[in-house]
Each structure stands twice: as structure tokens, then as C-alpha cells.
């Protein structure tokens, strides 16, 4: 295997609040190859967004990365100075966010904002910069791109604004793009257009992507591998198709089984009982144990990572072959 563009090892990001230490990201590891798309799935508060922020060094106090390493093309990012990190952020690694209205400055035209993003890392003449902007806008599916450079964000629809945000993130052809639920606020027909384009872009440009989402169906139609997060930990990871067909962690199995599409219409859905635990008072041992049907006394210990080929899970009592998911 070739060297991964991004390698995350034992990453821990904790928030030191008055109420206690919140382990938002707790021992997360994964590799990402060139052009690969990884789906990072989890419910709210599972730490998926903080993981994304940690990769770009965007975690603000009271939070900080307490341990672990993030290597981008061989360079360790967690120990870089602010300036050194800034010179890479946007050029080698960039991020798009859920809300395209909050991402763009309402007072500047799209062109002005794109020029600012270019001049942060490159010296380009106005004509050359305009050409690059138009090229990117066309690539993400914005018609008559040249003319649209003079438009303000409010003149775009939600879907178009998100495309602009994606174009800005891709201006410098970054090696890694972190996408935090970028299609959650959009309609399904627009979401489908963007998902398809992102798939093509990753294949064409070789940009590797981390696609953060709570929606299993969305990431499964985009990502070749998945990581499922629960209470700050990746509880299961592996190639998309195998992981979905044959989940090992009871939480993954429960998530898949609880989807309405998995049940006969009108019949009760398989549900995971209880609620997500507060990160301030996590159960001892496996964080999922109190909601799990397979828990035993062993689960009071922290389950170690079990690896089997390309996939891994953290569970003492993994779900067997094909059982559970399609019940």
C-alpha cells in the first residue's frame, strides 16, 4: 500500500470545563489514502465534528489536543506553530461546514471571497485568479461561473452557496478535505447532485475526503470506508460494504436496524433503548453497555480495538456473521 496522505494516531481532544473534563475525541486512529473518501458517522455529541476540527487545528480553549498525532503527507500537524499551520490550512487541508449561510461573508462578492482565499497562499494576477475561480465554480456545477463571481451570497440558493463553499475549499487542490455535514441543510434532489459531483471530484483530483454525517445512507453512497463514532470513540471501522452488510459492533447493527427502510411499513422499528450518555458522566468500561443487549460483566472493562484485516471494532461481544443487521 502507498503511504497514506493523512494518518491519525491515538488522537485525543479534551475540553477542560468547570463541570469536568469532556473527552470529546478519545483515542481516534485512522488512515486516509489519496482520493479516498471516508465516512465518519455518529449521532450528535459523538465527537465527529470535534475530530474534524482537531485535524485542522481549529479546536479553541477550553479544548485542546492532549495526545496523539495527525500526519499530513508525513508532516506532524499537532506540534506546528500557528503560522506554520495557517500556511497549510486551506492549501493542503481544508474544511466545509454544514451551514453555507454562516460560512460566506454576506458583504463581499463570491469573487472577492475567492480571491482572498487564493491570495492567502498564492500570488496570482487578477485575470489568472479569476480564471481559477471560474474553473472551480464550473467544476462544482455552477452555471455561467464568470458572471456569478460578481454576485453576493444572498443571490444564491442554499445548494449553490454550498457549492461556492466547496469551490473555495478546493481552490488550492488540497490533499485532504474535511466535510462536516455539508448536505444536511439541503433538499434531497440538491444533495444527490452534490454527492455525485464530490465522488467525481475525489476521483479526478485525488483529493481525499472525510465526510462527516449522521446519515448512514448518505455516507454509504459516497464513502468507500466508514468509521462509526460513539461517545468520542470510533467503535467500528472498515470498508463500507462489509461494515454495513455484516456489522460487528452492536451499536452499528442497532443503527442500521433502526432505519425505517429496514422494516416492513407500519411495523414497529427495531430501536436502541435509552439515550446517548453525557460525555461528562460516561459509564465505566464500554460507553454503549447500558443500552446494549449483549452486555455482560466483562463490559465494565474498556473494550480494546480488535482488528481483522481492513476492519476493526471495540466490543467484547461482537455481532456474528450477518446476524443482527437484517433481523
Amino acid at each position: 500500500m502507498t503511504d497514506p496522505v493523512l494518518s491519525v494516531q491515538n488522537l485525543k481532544t479534551h475540553f477542560f470545563t468547570r463541570a469536568g473534563v469532556i473527552k470529546a475525541v478519545d483515542d481516534v486512529s485512522f488512515d486516509l489514502a489519496r482520493g479516498e473518501i471516508m465516512g465518519l458517522v455518529g449521532e450528535s455529541g459523538s465527537g465527529k465534528t470535534v475530530t474534524g476540527f482537531s485535524l485542522l487545528g481549529l479546536v479553541d480553549p477550553p479544548g485542546r489536543i492532549v495526545e496523539g498525532s495527525v500526519k499530513l503527507n508525513g508532516t506532524e500537524l499537532t506540534t506546528l506553530s500557528g503560522a506554520a499551520l495557517r500556511s497549510r490550512r486551506g492549501r493542503e487541508i481544508s474544511m466545509i461546514f454544514q451551514d453555507p449561510i454562516a460560512t460566506l461573508n454576506p458583504l463581499l462578492t463570491i469573487g472577492q471571497q475567492m480571491h482572498m482565499a487564493i491570495s492567502a497562499h498564492d500570488r496570482l494576477g487578477k485575470a489568472a485568479a479569476n480564471a481559477r475561480c471560474a474553473e472551480l465554480l464550473t467544476q462544482v456545477g455552477i452555471p455561467s461561473a464568470k458572471a456569478r463571481l460578481r454576485a453576493y451570497p444572498h443571490e444564491f440558493s442554499g445548494g449553490m452557496r454550498q457549492r461556492v463553499a466547496i469551490a473555495i475549499a478546493l481552490l488550492h487542490r488540497p490533499a485532504v478535505l474535511v466535510a462536516d455535514e455539508p448536505t444536511t441543510a439541503l433538499d434531497v434532489s440538491i444533495q444527490a447532485q452534490i454527492l455525485l459531483q464530490m465522488r467525481e471530484l475525489a476521483a479526478e483530483t485525488g483529493t481525499a475526503m472525510i465526510w462527516i454525517s449522521h446519515d448512514l445512507a448518505v455516507v454509504s453512497s459516497l464513502a468507500t470506508k466508514l468509521a462509526v463514532m460513539y461517545a468520542g470513540k470510533i467503535v467500528e471501522q472498515g470498508p463500507t460494504a462489509t461494515l454495513l452488510r455484516d456489522p460487528r459492533h452492536p451499536y452499528t447493527a442497532g443503527l442500521i436496524a433502526s432505519l425505517p427502510a429496514m422494516a416492513k411499513p407500519g411495523t414497529p422499528l427495531t430501536q436502541i433503548r435509552g439515550t446517548t450518555p453525557s460525555l461528562l458522566s460516561l459509564p465505566v468500561g464500554c460507553p454503549f453497555a447500558p443500552r446494549c443487549d449483549r452486555q455482560t460483566e466483562t463490559c465494565l472493562e474498556k473494550p480494546p480495538l480488535t482488528m481483522e484485516g481492513a476492519r476493526g471494532w471495540r466490543c467484547f461481544h461482537p455481532v456474528g456473521h450477518s446476524a443482527g443487521a437484517l433481523a
Binding site: 440558493s157 449553490m160 440538491i190 454527492l195 453512497s221 460494504a241 454495513l244 432505519l259 425505517p260 439515550t275
Partner: protein, 337 residues
């Protein structure tokens, strides 16, 4: 079909409120926005007693406005809504408590400064369904029915999770003993594992209480799961109506087909990434909708006829209706993958 809830030719317009100055300016030829949005356009629907009707469409298609018209939150600009023959509204005043709504965001729909028990009791006390003295037992009963511990009635909304708040919102709506329940995206803001719990609660309660429901959602798999029939809306018009299995299995309107085609599906036995179709372009502005059929600029089956006049609603079978000139061609395309 005996209709319990009837919506008869209901329309709702939202227009700019012009000041006297603006009216004069408009008369003198100045540029003043006078166009209005037809959020709901001549919708006729009937729902049987005990039936759940799903209402799907993209944002801005008017599904929430239609929900508001049925619930008596907004008066229709024209047309009527009746429950069991009695009107929901007279003028702009709601005259019945027989229809109640559960809203999307349980963080916004509960008063943060009221104890949740008080929130649930407020309506029933005001309408004489219980007395202040008995309200505690009355509320406790409803808490138990929606799966909440009755000792929590003295707590405030911030002490509950999203799923629990949505249960409180459901208790508040049902404590009014309605015949019709409008659910406006009730699970959209909840986590996947909690969604299943609320959907199961909804299925149990509607059956037990023989509720007639209108279930509004952009999530087609949720609608498919809970509804008997489904209505598909596009820019204020209902383009297709019929039993869920038939509409989802074999759409008669090209928009329905495209909408279902663009939903990412969880395919467990695929080794490659699943293919999904996309609809070209975006929903046009409702301020200046296209001529004829509103969907024709994006429709693969469009013909010149489609841009001339809006297609009338016709029956495809005795239970299915569609507003499209080319529904036969669409039906021939066969079932959705």
C-alpha cells in the same frame, strides 16, 4: 370513500403588506414588489377516519403551510377545511380543538420557563377537559402514555433530551383529545436511534387512539413507514396522491420518480457505490413559477403541451391521482429500483 378530514380547494397566498405610500408609488409606476407567493394552490384532499396521510416534498413546496391550514394556525385565502363536516376555522379564528399539531423542533416548541407539566395541562384546563384540581393526575396519565415518568412533570424543558422533549410535545397535543393530529417533521431534528423510538410511539398511539393523521416529512423512508397514503407536493400543488406502496413502488409523476431516485439508499448487498439519479436544476422561485406544469423545466418527459397549461388532476386508478400529461409514459417506465 367517507372523508373525515376534508380539504376543499384550499389555497394560501402570502403577499407583501403594502403601506399607503407604497401603494401610491406602485400606482405611479415605481418598482414595488406586489407579487405574492401561492404557497398552497387549490389543494383538495380527503382523509378517512384513522388514516395516516403522508405529505412529502422539498423545502418551500408548501407542505408545512398546508399543515398550518389544516391545523387552523393559518386561515386559507380561499377554500375550506372541515373535520367530520364541521369547519376548522370561521374567518381567521380557529373554532375547534379537534386538530392539534406536533412541530419539528422540540427545543423551540416548549416554553423554557414553564414546567413541562404546566405546558401539557394549559390547553386541557382552558378548554374544560380537566380541572386545575385534577390536572396533575390527568397530565400524569398522558406522560405515562407517551413513555415518560410522571414524576418529571415538575421539571423544565432544558432538563430533557431532544427525544424526551418530542414526547412531551406529543403529550401536549394528545392531551387535548384531538381527532386529527398534524405531525410537521416530528423526527427531523432527532438522532437516528431516537427517531425509531418516536416513530414506534407514533404508530402505537395513532392505532390505540384511532387518530387521523397528516404526517409531513421530507424523509421519504419515514413517510413510507408510517403512512397509508401519500401526497407529493411541488411548488404548492399536489402532483400525485395514492397508497404508499403503489406511489413509492411505481410513481406516476416524473417528479415523484425523480424525488425517490435521488434519495441515497442504504444498500447492504452492493459491493460498489450505489448509483442514484439526480434531478437537473433547482426548484424555481415560487414568486415567479414557470407556466403550465410547474415541473416542466426540469422534467425529462416534458412536451410543448406542458408549458402551455397546467395538467388537470386525473385518476390513474380508483385510488390513485396524478397531475401530469405523461403519467402513462412514466408508469410504463416501471418500478423504482
Amino acid at each position: 370513500m367517507s372523508a373525515f378530514l376534508s380539504i376543499d380547494n384550499a389555497s394560501r397566498l402570502f403577499g407583501p403588506k403594502l403601506s399607503t405610500g407604497e401603494k401610491i408609488a406602485a400606482k405611479l409606476g415605481a418598482k414595488v414588489e406586489t407579487r405574492s407567493v401561492r404557497a398552497v394552490s387549490a389543494v383538495t384532499l380527503s382523509v378517512r377516519k384513522g388514516e395516516t396521510l403522508g405529505l412529502v416534498g422539498e423545502s418551500g413546496c408548501g407542505k408545512s403551510t398546508l399543515g398550518h391550514l389544516i391545523a387552523g394556525i393559518l386561515p386559507p385565502t380561499s377554500g375550506t377545511v372541515t373535520i367530520d363536516g364541521a369547519p376548522v376555522m370561521v374567518g381567521s379564528k380557529k373554532v375547534t380543538t379537534r386538530v392539534q399539531t406536533v412541530f419539528q423542533d422540540p427545543f423551540a416548541s416548549l416554553d423554557p420557563r414553564m414546567k413541562v407539566g404546566e405546558t401539557v395541562a394549559e390547553g386541557p384546563i382552558a378548554h374544560g377537559l380537566t380541572t386545575r384540581a385534577h390536572s396533575k393526575t390527568y397530565v400524569s396519565e398522558w406522560f405515562e402514555r407517551v413513555g415518560l415518568d410522571p414524576v418529571w412533570t415538575d421539571r423544565y424543558p432544558h432538563q430533557f433530551s431532544g427525544g424526551q422533549r418530542q414526547r412531551i410535545a406529543i403529550a401536549r397535543a394528545l392531551a387535548m383529545q384531538p381527532d386529527v393530529l398534524i405531525c410537521d417533521e416530528p423526527v427531523a431534528s432527532l438522532d437516528v436511534s431516537i427517531q425509531a423510538q418516536i416513530i414506534n410511539l407514533f404508530l402505537t398511539l395513532t392505532k390505540k387512539l384511532d387518530l387521523t393523521c397528516v404526517f409531513i416529512s421530507h424523509d421519504l423512508s419515514v413517510v413510507q413507514h408510517v403512512s397509508d397514503r401519500v401526497a407529493v407536493m411541488y411548488l404548492g400543488r399536489i402532483v400525485e396522491l395514492g397508497p404508499v406502496a403503489q406511489v413509492f413502488g411505481r410513481p406516476a409523476h416524473p417528479y415523484t420518480a425523480a424525488l425517490f431516485g435521488s434519495v441515497p439508499k442504504l444498500v447492504l448487498d452492493a459491493d460498489e457505490l450505489v448509483h442514484f439519479d439526480t434531478i437537473e436544476g433547482e426548484v424555481p422561485s415560487p414568486l415567479s413559477p414557470p407556466s403550465g406544469c410547474y415541473y416542466h423545466p426540469r422534467c425529462p418527459l416534458a412536451s410543448p403541451q406542458c408549458s402551455n397549461a397546467a395538467p388537470p388532476t386525473k385518476a390513474v386508478s380508483d385510488v390513485r391521482y396524478v397531475a401530469c400529461y405523461h403519467s402513462d409514459a412514466q408508469l410504463r417506465l416501471g418500478p423504482q429500483s
